[in-house]
């Protein structure tokens, strides 16, 4: 299954960059929690990275085509798990997202991303060449919709939306007509006020309206946005130094080890640190796009872009949010924010990407 020859095609550069980003994450988690009640969170993160490395290895070792052949099994398992969350899940921050296991809580929605990417890649690979038909798109939409609704029900609209970016990414690559893309865009714009009126909950509305004018609720929803921007701006060019940022250290930013880890990073490491981190993220994304281009088959390209869509979307949204430039959404920063399931799933996803890259020359 793992030929010796393949070993030489593992993309070491990506692995190194991933390791550096994980290390930065652990560092920031330590910095933001060392003087509080969660001071051992960085140890948890290290465990998650260890498990993630195993998952990475597994996803790398098994040929992605074999995995794709069994995608429906994975898909089915994840859907069952998501049902399980709704039935037996534990609650945190007003949402039911986790399945309690002996040593940690497990968040199936993070793994749903990989499974959906795998399933969609397989589906579009098998559909007719050229542009996917409306039927293809409808089926792809249905595949996405089931976990989407289950996750949205938790409620975790943010993670649910990342599933849509996977669908969008893969169908775009599969040759979806640009006209259709345009129509989708128009529908989204038209649907926005309708959604505002009927679909969004009050706390979601307040997040958006305070984004437009943070001072409306300077102590509530607008608070985080204001504080995030202050954190970033006060970092300056060179930063305040590790564990020396006042915004993060004195808890002006809530859950700084999670949603706002990049704000604190910007505060403590400055613009120079931000450029380095942005460069590292950009590197892994562009490198993965290159992998998609080099992929031996369409399946590989779809799979890489599917996984990458969710990753890149979350990275870009979180970093933009870190500067207070988009409404606060519960998107963590993959690889840096604290969170076991997210770390494991992200590393597993990169395992698949490198899997595709590694096997680009095989038959």
């Amino acid at each position: 299954m793992f030929e010796r020859r393949l070993f030489y095609h593992i993309d070491l550069l990506t692995i190194i960059v991933l390791a550096v980003l994980c290390a930065l994450g652990v560092m920031m988690i330590y910095s933001t929690t060392h003087n509080g009640p969660n001071s051992t969170l960085y140890v948890k993160q290290l465990y998650a990275i260890a498990i993630g490395v195993v998952a990475f290895g597994v996803c790398l070792a098994i040929d992605y085509r074999t995995l794709a052949d069994n995608s429906l099994v994975f898909y089915f398992v994840v859907v069952v798990l998501l049902f399980g969350v709704l039935l037996f899940g534990t609650t945190g921050g007003g949402a039911r997202r986790w399945i309690p296991l002996p040593f940690f809580a497990f968040q199936p929605s993070e793994f749903a991303k990989i499974c959906v990417a795998l399933t969609l890649a397989k589906f579009f690979d098998e559909s007719r060449r050229g542009s996917p038909s409306m039927t293809d798109l409808a089926v792809g939409g249905a595949i996405t919709l089931v976990p989407f609704l289950l996750i949205a029900k938790e409620p975790d609209l943010g993670t649910a939306i990342t599933l849509l970016t996977i669908l969008l990414g893969i169908s775009f690559l599969a040759g979806m007509r640009m006209r259709l893309l345009g129509i989708l865009l128009v529908v989204a714009i038209v649907a926005a006020p309708v959604a505002w009126r009927y679909a969004l909950k009050d706390y979601q509305k307040s997040r958006i309206s305070t984004f437009i004018d943070p001072e409306l609720d300077a102590r509530g929803a607008g608070y985080q946005q204001i504080q995030a921007r202050i954190s970033v701006g006060s970092g300056g060019a060179w930063g305040n130094g590790f564990m020396k940022g006042t915004q993060g250290q004195l808890r002006f930013l809530p859950v700084a080890w999670n949603d706002f880890v990049f704000s604190v990073f910007a505060e403590e490491q400055g613009f120079v640190g931000v450029i380095v981190a942005l460069g590292l993220y950009l590197f892994v994304i562009v490198r993965a796009l290159e992998t998609a281009r080099l992929a031996k088959d369409r399946l590989g390209a779809y799979l890489v872009l599917g996984i990458l869509s969710a990753f890149a979307f979350q990275v870009m949204y979180n970093i933009t949010m870190s500067a207070g430039l988009v409404p606060v959404r519960g998107y963590t920063l993959p690889l840096m924010s604290s969170g076991g399931s997210s770390m494991i799933a992200t590393l597993a996803g990169f395992g698949l990407i490198l899997n595709v890259r590694m096997r680009r020359f095989t038959n």
Partner: protein, 654 residues
Amino acid sequence: MLGIPTGSPGVALPDDRRKLVTRLIVVQYLVVVVFAVLALAFWYFQVVQHEKFRELAENNHQRTLGLRAPRGVLFDRGGKILVENRDSFVISLVREHSRDIDRTIRLLARVVGLSEAEVRDTIRKHRSEPSYRPIPIVEDATLAQVSAVTAHRLDTELPEVIVERVPTRRYPADAMAAHIFGYVSEATESQLAHDGLHAGDVVGQAGFEKIYNSLLMGVDGARRVVVNSLGREIRTVEEVPPSGGRRVQLTIDYDVQRATEEGFKGMGYAGAAVVLDPNTGEILSYVSLPAYDPNAFAAGIDRATWASLNTDALKPLQDRAIQGRYSPGSTFKMAVAAAALEEGIITPDFTVTCHGGQDFYGRVFKCWRKEGHGTLDLRHAIEQSCDVYFYTLGKMVGVDAINKWATRLGLGVKSGIDLPNEVTGLVPSSQWKLAKLGEKWYPGETISVAIGQGQVSVTPVSMAVYMAALANGGKRVTPHLLRAVDEGNGWKPVPAPTDQGESGIKPETMAAIHDGLWMVVNAGGTGGNARLQGYDVSGKTGTAQVISLEGAKALKGRTDLDLRDNGWFVFFAPRDNPQIAGVVFTEHGEHGTNAALIARHLMETFFAKKEGRPLPVFKPPAPPPPKPPVRVTTPATVVGQAASRQPQAESREP
């Protein structure tokens, strides 16, 4: 590698493969653009706008807490502490730290035992201030209130509530010398605008505290602390300690001051007294009663107390010693005598025969003694306070000469005392009447002026200057309270303010007046109550009507105004080489002999202290003087007018 490759060169790609590559390249462009925009945004916030955000972050986590400087301590001339500072606790609320102000108000009101409405009211008053500035909710909080708040704060229940320890003025008990000290309170808006003060500064608003505010105030310090997002202090960044105000020594003698107030209280009178060293103008004792408790202002006066002080008919906020104008009555006769002698109109041996009254300009003016005094010279006329004698002098001298010499002795002009808002009395002249009323002076009007009635009005402090001038041979000293200042290296005496002038009265004139004044106390005069064996007290009583006899009869039983006469006693001692001089004015004291009792007590205390004897205890006269009526509504300023309404005032000197 980050560049955009265009596909493997030399290999012809199938159509759909090329399409896939193209779309991937589109995605790559998109990603690169987004990252570039992000980099730009971070550059803008972190580099371009860094300064602004750095400040915002600093405001977030740093608080500057004011450290109030203690005001300078006031000492008496012997080094006894008069006014010092104590620590008081202020419970304040920082709106900025409050997530739910209504809940905070509810809790705070309950914990400190106030009504919610009161707390809201206080906050409303400060609503225009920045929200990080603490709003004092309870000033001078009790220990119970402080411990209740601290206990709750430890529970994290009220993180926005802070308890500060601030130095607060402590004045002597029983409102002693209140009108000397005045009081302090937070600077008003107009003071903030003019005096370079900061909001919340505590400044002198009256009395010595006001006049010497810049000496006493000191410079507030500040402590910069780091707070976390809950507003809790984490550590102190830097501390600039406050530097206290200067220590200041007053000319007041604590024991003489005390004796004077004991005298007034023992007799049950309101009034004023100013006692000074006749040679220097140093004030030894200074009283105005009723007084207020300056302590009530020190920690923020409540509205009810303030309102009652302002509406009190007895006007406790008025400093009678420098702001009250009263008819001097017989105490004015020395000025008339001085005028007559200095103008060369009479000699001390000039005699007049008193039959109990005399006709002047077609009208009979009575002497206080119906049976008359017989024939007297100047010395005996002063001793007996014979009205007919002085009516005669007044007629001979004329109002303008009286005005000239009274003014030279310090009457009808400001004394220049170092206290704020001194008013001027009035010694009329023909010029004054022409300017003021546009009328010519009638010689008949001079007759009442000659016995200190009619238009004449004086402030007690000017009477003290007058007596000091008579005592020291004619020098018009400037009464003052500031004796020495400690700039940080021991007491440095403050030079006495320059004198207001020399009256130019001849020693022979002085000698004659001194003889008369000595006889008032030590021979057959009205001042026997002030006699002190061995000290040759010289003085003069005065009794001034607040209303004419006819008016009093007409109003009898129909008014709740206190119509009893005001009593004066002016004095110096000893007659030769005087060391103490002054005035005791008792409002509705009925007669100057009562005021003389108070004067005697304070002089006795002065000499006893000087000679190291035990201080005397004030003994009120055997039948206690009648208590003033419960409702007294004669405002002091009306007194002069009431008397002046009656041009034909009669002296009521027994």
